[in-house]
């Protein structure tokens, strides 16, 4: 049954793509509209809700005190975790966390480290004794393609809303006193991820929906901040040409500028 459906959709989509049109009326290289809402969760220390088309994610950040690692005594922690609860898609079975969520989590953690989005030294309270641990949990509420793009936007905008209180640490008595003087975090760079779906070697779709992701044979993720390229990720699948990658990077740069404006406007 599924193979028949896929076959029909394949031909249907191909005819559309030849006209530079997609199911939802977009052109091949058009991205969906994104919207952003800051400080949606009051119990979190920083939060943001992002929608890209129908994809919806919420990021909540909790700041806690912790002990730094012995090899890096003067930096705090930034822990990113993506949850894909069974609520967000019918593909995801309840119970064990799915592989896709784990893969996305490690990718996002890597991007955070590579881009140095935060100067982790600002999370240090007392060297070798006490640092801030920022736990960023991102929940996908509706899985309609390009979830990773939405997660990164949510993470960055949530980080910008985090305010951590000043903490005094007495080394001798090991006492901590929290002063109600909140300092906003400094976010260094704003990488934006853009996902492209490779339908076949001829057609590449920007910002694919879930339905299109199913039809696509491969994906390409470009992380950029408009001028610098942070990461390129194409996990196997159909071959693509050099020029196509260049074209994707060009579109990703434009997208980064739009998202950048969106984040600026929301503050």
């Amino acid at each position: 049954m599924n193979s028949i459906k896929k076959n029909i959709q394949d031909t249907y989509t191909k005819e559309y793509l030849a006209l530079n049109k997609r199911n939802d009326g977009r052109e091949l290289m058009n991205f969906r509209d994104a919207s952003l809402n800051l400080n949606t969760i009051h119990t979190a220390d920083g939060s943001a809700a992002v929608k890209i088309g129908n994809t919806a994610v919420v990021c909540g950040i909790k700041a806690e005190l912790g002990v730094p690692k012995a090899e890096t005594p003067d930096i705090g922690y930034l822990l990113v975790n993506i949850e894909l609860p069974s609520l967000c898609s019918k593909k995801i079975r309840p119970g064990i966390p799915c592989d896709e969520a784990m893969q996305m989590t490690s990718f996002l953690n890597e991007v955070c480290n590579n881009c140095k989005i935060l100067d982790l030294q600002q999370l240090c309270i007392s060297v070798d004794k006490l640092v801030w641990v920022l736990s960023c949990d991102i929940y996908c509420l509706n899985y309609d393609g390009s979830v990773l793009d939405a997660c990164l936007v949510a993470l960055l905008s949530a980080l910008q809303t985090v305010k951590i209180p000043e903490v005094k640490y007495d080394k001798e008595t090991e006492e901590t006193t929290v002063i109600e003087n909140y300092i906003p975090l400094k976010v260094n760079s704003l990488p934006v991820s853009s996902t492209f779906g490779v339908f076949n070697e001829k057609y590449i779709l920007a910002d694919p929906t879930e339905e299109e992701e199913q039809l696509c044979v491969s994906k390409l993720t470009v992380v950029t901040n408009g001028s610098l390229l942070f990461s390129l990720h194409k996990p196997g699948g159909e071959f693509i040409k050099d020029s196509q990658i260049q074209n994707c990077i060009k579109h990703a740069n434009n997208r980064a500028k739009t998202i950048y404006q969106l984040i600026k406007a929301a503050q």
Binding site: I41, V58, K62, P85, S86, L87, K90, D144
Partner: protein, 249 residues
């Protein structure tokens, strides 16, 4: 700190019989077959329904004459003031079961033989009455999914302040420092009680006023949600000209 000031006001400024503000939206997501977002005061919940669909798990045990209801209740790690390490713990497992039992009383499972209905609720922000808000959100999502139900399932909480005054729709603060709290889920039209739970011991004479107040809270929520649902369907129906001659042609 008193739960009820001498002027009769609660810690958040409500009177004893006053409920928190209700805001909701149906059909918020496109992936599930039915979905709803519900906010009661500072408690924020999303609910999603998948189904009725083929049974995925344990096909051998599936009953031939009714649907299987599968529930999952989970709390986001950032939903409380303390970070939760595990989103699904024993407490969640208990509430999952309660939710399933409460919803099962109203869903007409015999209309969907050999199929499964998934009810997923996610607490995004918690400020007391999580279970109640989840039940209400699940009801809205089930209606959005078009699943046949006997009637609504509506839940509300209440507690007792200073050993005499019943408080309705309690917040997290009132839940933790207050007296006994009671959660009830009712079918509001017939007035049947689907689920009832008390958190600690309560004097038998106090049960009646506390329960009456919780049931009154349920009826209030029912009226409000009913209005919201009608408005929602007027909006979608209006676009399609429901109920007019044009639509019938």
């Amino acid at each position: 700190m008193d739960l009820l000031s001498r002027q009769g006001l609660r810690t958040d400024g409500r009177r004893s019989g006053e409920l928190r503000r209700i805001r909701c939206k149906m059909g918020v997501f496109n992936q599930p077959d039915g979905s709803a977002y519900l906010e009661q005061g500072n408690t924020k919940v999303v609910a999603a329904i998948y189904g009725p669909h083929e049974i995925r798990t344990n096909r051998a045990k599936a009953p031939n004459d009714s649907a299987v209801i599968n529930c999952q209740y989970s709390m986001a790690t950032f939903s409380r003031s303390e970070r939760k390490r595990r989103p699904r713990d024993n407490k969640s497992a208990e509430l999952t079961l309660h939710l399933k039992q409460a919803m099962a009383t109203a869903i007409k499972t015999d209309l969907y033989p050999k199929s499964q209905i998934d009810i997923f609720v996610q607490v995004l922000q918690s400020d007391g009455g999580n279970y109640s808000v989840c039940v209400n959100a699940a009801t809205l999502a089930l209606i959005d999914a078009g699943i046949a139900m006997e009637e609504f399932v509506i839940s509300c909480t209440s507690s007792l302040a200073n050993g005499e005054t019943p408080l309705v729709d309690i917040s997290h603060l009132e839940e933790t420092m207050g007296g006994p709290s009671l959660t009830v889920a009712i079918l509001p039209i017939s007035g049947k009680i689907a689920m009832l739970e008390t958190s600690q011991r309560i004097h038998i004479n106090h049960l009646e006023p506390v329960l009456t107040e919780a049931v009154r809270g349920c009826r209030y929520i029912y009226e409000n949600l009913n209005k919201i649902i009608k408005k929602h369907y007027e909006e979608i129906g209006g676009a399609l000209n429901w109920g007019t001659e044009e639509y019938n042609i």
